[in-house]
Amino acid sequence: MNLLIKNGRVIDPSQNIDDVLDVIVENGLVKEIGKGLKAPSGAEIIDATGKYVVPGLIDMHVHLRDPGLEYKEDIISGTKAAVVGGFTSVCCMPNTKPTIDNKAIASYIINKAKTEGFCNVFPVGSITYGLSGERMSEMGELMESGCVGVSDDGKPVNNSELMMRALQYAAGIGIMVISHAEELELVGEGTMNEGYTSTELGLKGIPRVAEDIATARETLLAEYTGSPIHIAHVSTKGAVRIIREAKARGVKVTCETAPHYFTLTDDAVRGYNTNAKMNPPLREADDVAAIKEGLRDGTIDAIATDHAPHHLDEKDVEFNVALNGIIGLETSLPLSLKLVDDGVLTLNQLVAAMSCQPSKILSLNRGALTTGAIADITLIDPSVEWVVEADKLASKSKNSPFLGWTMKGAAVVTVVGGKVVHRR
């Protein structure tokens, strides 16, 4: 299927393009970008007037729950939610059952995504076997099997020596280490951010310094070893500052944040709302401001959702008992577009954070509309308004703090490898 995407505002930060242009897609690749292009014979013409045409969005941090926890989500439902949300690629975390710590599981995910999924799925293997934090996974084989990074996401590698060796080893074979940065002793049995709200609600708090300390350790280990590191789901003012300073020193550190960290504060927990419970927890207004500033000044490289589906039975329980995490694939784009509406980011910066940068950090060879590039393309209507309703979400799980919110902006067409996989 060939395409002519006509008259859209094409934004491709990789080539510094921001202009009303046409895009021709042939045989799954971007063939040409220009003005007044003629449709190749048999091509479908998509009128993109008033729409943004951007390199396919990439969510570098999702949980697809497949294999093992398919009652929450699977590769089919998760990738469907992805393309509805405008994502053409997702990177799935290894805390599946069994863990992505071997070739068999990585291959299973890649094959299932290719045959039954809606978008590209790039697995992230584990740093340590079974996420035990005890000995390194076979990172070389994981990389050869198609893993694009390694992470023990959900928990930190507590042992600093092991983490240092993992960074050195991973750098040697060229795979990115993604850190879940938390000092577990300080997290303790905390269930939300430690602050005024936790005091009022009588819930045990997780101090922000738990994330700051771990972020500092990771940047120091990266600095000492000269190896790259990527910090997942940055949520605190302190972590942003530490990463900014490390970058200024030349440390090879990159990081991501999630839409909920620049949209919500821990006030969202009031009423003991388990859909506002995640790890790291929602923080305070000054953290939200620092996250936005970090995105604006480039300290924060990427926006990722940490899409974490959980069954209603795991959320419709007492607050302490509820599992951590929220879904995000279908709400990420409008929440992020709001940063542009609010003047925090330029559109160019937003597309970079949601496509170019994740591709670059994990060497995905995506995130660009250059001639010959794989045709992963997202068409965005920035003005359409819609309400988040549980029964209309493509994800199997409905654990979102944004249920009932009116969103502005949506992916109207999602193209993966030249094929239209979603139309709104």
């Binding site: 602050g195 005024y196 009022e200 009588g202 819930l203 003991y272 329980v317 007492e318 302490n320």
Partner: protein
């Protein structure tokens, strides 16, 4: 008479000044029943109350049970050792099963803060909180306020010192919420490891740098139970050192007003947060608190049932 519009009593944070005053004044009138030879009125005859306790309790559970019985309600006690919780049943399922037996009120104690709100969304009977995690213990807050009112005839303008582990104390939170709504000023003291962030923003609350500062000219001194299991952990060195800096004794009690009253929600660690002489001394109103507990709980049960005195 003012009207009580709440179906549930989960937190004093959710109640207005008028609601709290009404509960206290009803409790004052209930007290008369407790002094009769035949301590029973038919007010809640035919009502069923389930006391669902997921945490151990002697005082509170007994007090709620007696309160229900004095109002002629049928009361059933379920404690965690005899419940389905140990069989892995969810709170939601337990509640729905109990609800199928048509109780009018569930009085619950649970270790998870906020679990009563969760429960209230699941059931159609009234929910009364007998303590949830470190959140609130409204019946304790109310009986404490009733006790202070007994002593001073008012709550407005009182200086109340609360000393101990504020972070983990639902008693402290309910007292802070209630007292500051009724015009008292609250002074907190405890090791900084036991003072939660932003607590001074909960109302007219002052965080003191020492116990002496909190005690100075206090009308009421409320000592909190120190959890023995916290000894040797990260919050304090041990009971001995805690007692040295945050224990009430015959010397530092003199900093409070001469006729100040001393309170404690119990159970007391004698020799830790209070010396025995202060527990048993003339200024101790601790047993008065327990006595008032029954009346306060009668008032709570009565008002969530619609508040019609059938006498």
């Amino acid at each position: 008479m003012a009207e009580f519009k709440h179906k549930h009593i989960i937190a004093l944070r959710d109640l207005s000044k008028e609601d709290i005053e009404l509960l206290i004044s009803t409790a004052e009138s209930m007290r008369e029943i407790n002094n009769r030879d035949i301590k029973k009125v038919p007010t809640l005859r035919g009502k069923t109350i389930i006391n669902l306790f997921y945490e151990a309790s002697t005082r509170t559970r007994t007090s709620f049970e007696i309160a229900g019985k004095r109002l002629s309600a049928d009361t059933v006690n379920i404690t965690t050792s005899s419940s389905s919780a140990t069989k892995g049943e969810t709170l939601s399922d337990t509640a729905l099963n109990l609800l199928a037996m048509k109780p009018d009120i569930i009085v619950m104690r649970h270790s998870v803060s906020g679990s009563h709100y969760f429960l209230a969304n699941k059931v159609n009977c009234s929910i009364i909180n007998a303590g949830d995690g470190a959140h609130e213990h409204p019946s304790q807050g109310l009986l404490d306020m009733l006790t202070m009112k007994d002593r001073y005839g008012r709550l407005d303008g009182l200086k109340v010192a609360i000393v101990g582990d504020i972070t983990h104390s639902r008693v402290a939170r309910s007292n802070i919420q209630g007292l500051t709504k009724l015009g008292s000023s609250v002074f907190l003291a405890g090791p900084p490891t036991m003072l939660p962030p932003g607590v001074e923003k909960l109302g007219n609350v002052t965080v003191c740098s020492s116990m002496n500062e909190a005690l100075q000219d206090a009308d009421v001194v409320m000592m909190l139970r120190i959890q023995q299991e916290r000894q040797g952990k990260t919050l304090m060195p041990n009971a001995r050192e805690y007692s040295r800096y945050f224990g009430l004794n015959p010397n530092n009690i003199k900093l409070a007003k001469p006729n100040a009253i001393v309170m404690h929600p119990g159970p007391i660690n004698r020799g830790v947060e209070m010396s025995s002489s202060t527990v048993d001394g003339e200024q101790s109103w601790i047993l008065k608190q327990v006595e008032n507990g029954v009346a306060v709980r009668m008032a709570m049960l009565y008002h969530v049932c619609g508040g019609e005195m059938g006498e």
